[in-house]
Structures are given as structure tokens and as C-alpha cells.
């Protein structure tokens, strides 16, 4: 039992460090927003902690529940990818060891290629805008295809939605793509 616990804790420390590193890297990408990198990026991440005085603590800040609400679909999504590989392997196994090895190794090799072009670099820089709302005119949004809007998805996880003045709301009513009074 103690041995199991010790092994588990050892694995946990490695995995925890890995995940923390991943989140830190993501933060670096997010904070830089294409303007700084390397040392500047790290300085910005550190600087984020020093800005605590600027924003008061809010009871509506996302916590464990929000984290798990966002995480479980990702977990399920990633797990289905593993199941796809597993299904290929299990169903090919009836054709023999050679077929099983070909399918499983081929899938792993292809995955290593696919992951290099994966979307990890796609959505993260856009998160800031997704959360901060439609500050920019629609036509200036990146790729337009990647433009986050002021829809349900954004407000569902934005505990403090920005309020516009009545004049600005009326100016931006409807779906005018070029409205800049935001």
C-alpha cells in the first residue's frame, strides 16, 4: 500500500509539473499576445501577479467548478481519440500480429505529424478577445473566421460582462459589422 502511494505521488509530482508547465506556457502565449516573447513574456506573467491591487477580488471568479465544467468535455474528446486508435488496433488484431503492429504503429507515427500542425496555437491567442468582448470592429478581427463574438459562449463563462452605456447600445444595436462605438 505504501509502495503504491509512494509511486502514485512520484507520478503525480511529474504530471503536476508537466501540467503546470503547460499552463505556464499557455499563459506566456496569452500574455504576450504577439508582442513580446522570451524573457519579456516571463516578466509579464510575473507582472500579472503584481497587478493584484488593480482589480479587487471577486466572488464570481472562476473556480474548481468552472475548471471541471470546461475540462470534462476536453477529457472525453481526447479519450475518444484514444478509443479510435484502440478500436483500430483491436479490430485489426483479428487479422494477425503484423496487421495489429502496422495499424497501431502507423497511427502513432501519423499522430506525431498531426500534432505538430495541431490547433494548439490557434485558439489561445484569441482567448483574450473572446473573454474581453467585442472591443474591435468586426472587420478588423483576425482571419474573420477566428473572430470571437458577443454570443452565448462568451457570456456563459464571463462572470463580469461589460456593460455599455445606453447611447453606445443604441448605436451598436442590430448586427452592424462596422460599429465602432464599443
Amino acid at each position: 500500500m505504501l509502495q503504491h502511494l509512494a509511486t502514485g505521488l512520484l507520478r503525480a509530482s511529474v504530471s503536476g509539473a508537466m501540467i503546470a508547465g503547460q499552463v505556464v506556457m499557455d499563459n506566456g502565449v496569452l500574455v504576450t499576445d504577439g508582442r513580446t516573447r522570451g524573457r519579456d513574456a516571463r516578466a509579464r506573467v510575473r507582472g500579472a501577479a503584481l497587478e493584484a491591487h488593480r482589480v479587487s477580488a471577486s466572488a464570481a471568479r472562476p473556480g474548481l467548478r468552472e475548471l471541471l465544467t470546461l475540462a470534462w468535455p476536453v477529457v472525453l474528446s481526447r479519450s475518444t481519440q484514444a478509443v479510435v486508435g484502440l478500436a483500430d488496433a483491436l479490430m485489426s488484431a483479428r487479422l494477425g500480429d503484423t496487421a495489429l503492429a502496422a495499424v497501431s504503429t502507423g497511427a502513432v507515427n501519423l499522430f506525431s505529424v498531426a500534432v505538430s500542425a495541431d490547433g494548439h496555437g490557434v485558439h489561445r491567442p484569441e482567448l483574450r478577445r473572446a473573454a474581453s468582448g467585442p472591443r474591435r470592429p468586426a472587420r478588423r478581427a483576425p482571419l474573420r473566421l477566428l473572430r470571437p463574438g458577443a454570443g452565448r459562449d462568451h457570456h456563459a463563462h464571463s462572470p463580469r460582462p461589460r456593460r455599455r452605456s445606453r447611447a453606445r447600445r443604441s448605436a451598436c444595436s442590430g448586427s452592424r459589422p462596422t460599429c465602432t462605438a464599443r
Binding site: H4, T7, G8, A12, G16, I19, A20, V23, M25, D26, N27, V31, E51, L67, L70, A71, W72, V75, L76, S77, R78, T80, Q81, V84, G85, L86, D88, A89, M91, A93, L95, A101, A102, V103, T105, L110, A114, V115, S116, G119, G121, H123, R124, P125, E126, L127, A130, S132, P142, L143, L145, L146, R147, A150, G151, D153, H154, A156, S158, P177
Partner: protein
Amino acid sequence: MTQYIQWRAWSMGPYIAMEALGNWFGGLGNTRVHMRASVITMVSNVVLNWVLIFGHLGAPAMGVRGAALASGLATVAGLAWIAMAFARRHRQMGADGPLALRVSEFLRLLRFGVPNGLNWFMEIAAFTLFLNAVVSRLGTTVLAAMNAILQINSISFMPAFGLASAGAVLVGQAIGRGEKDDVPRLLGLAARVALVWQGASGSRTS
């Protein structure tokens, strides 16, 4: 293996497109759309495997090629679903019109994407190299068993990756709200939950 890769390689494009659209929804705080597309892919893959590997429903028995083709077609099915969801969402946002590609934004995308992609590639490639260069010399059976075990084992750390992605979404939204002070707390929260999960799964399986 070459046969499998030849018949599967074309589906990397749809796979990447599906990931990109899934991440777009993820950036908006909606991770369920990508999940549904992945479930469609998984179910389609199992059904198409049955049809194409063994030759049911009048289809030819294609063996390994059938497995590759089934996975590719299943990916296309998932992509079709998420593309429709994207088109619907795009219309809801009042952004009708062509999805023009802007070179400057595309270059910016590459500036972020290439280092991230290379990071993941190097991590996975190191392991793939180990499989191809070392484990494959131990025999076909060992290689097949190793890969099957890896697929099963990956389920144990998938939650940690899910937590990392969810943490990244929350961090991005916090920064977007101008609450940068919240970033270390969210980072710690994601790391702690991942630590607990991996500790539990590690002690359970060891």
C-alpha cells in the same frame, strides 16, 4: 505500416481542421462542441471499421487499408458536424460573407502556432523514435502489444491534458477581463487538480 499510413495520411488535413474549429469553440468557452464531434468520429470509426476491415454490408474486405480508410472517413464525419456548427455559430454572430484569409493574421497565427506545434512534435517524436527504432526490433508481437498498451495508458493522463486546456481557457478569459492577478491562482488550481488526479490514478495502477 506503410500501407496504413498511405491510406490514412490524407485525413490529417480534416483532422487538423477539426482541431482548429474545436479550439475556436474552446476559446469561446464552449468545449462541448468539439466533444460531440469527437464522439461522432469515434462511433463512425467503429462502424466503418466493421464494414471496411471485414467487408460487411457489401463492402470489400480491405484489412489494414480498411482500418485506415475507416479512420479517415470517420474524421471527415466529425469535421462535417463541427463545420456545420461553426457555420451556424458564424451566422448567429452576424458575420455573413466570405471567410477571407488575411495574410498578416495568418503569419501571426504561424508565429504562435509553429513553436507550439514544434514543441508537441518534439515530445511525441522522441517517443515515436523510441518505438520505431528500439521496440520494433523486439518483434512484431512486442511492438503491437506495446502500442495497444500505450493507447490504453493514454486514457490515464487524458484528464490532465483536459485540465490543462480548461485552465488555459480560464486563464485566457481572466486576462481578457483584465484580471491578470487571477492567473497564478488559476494556474495553481489546474496544477493541483491534475496533481490529485495523477496521484490517484498512479497509486491505483501501480
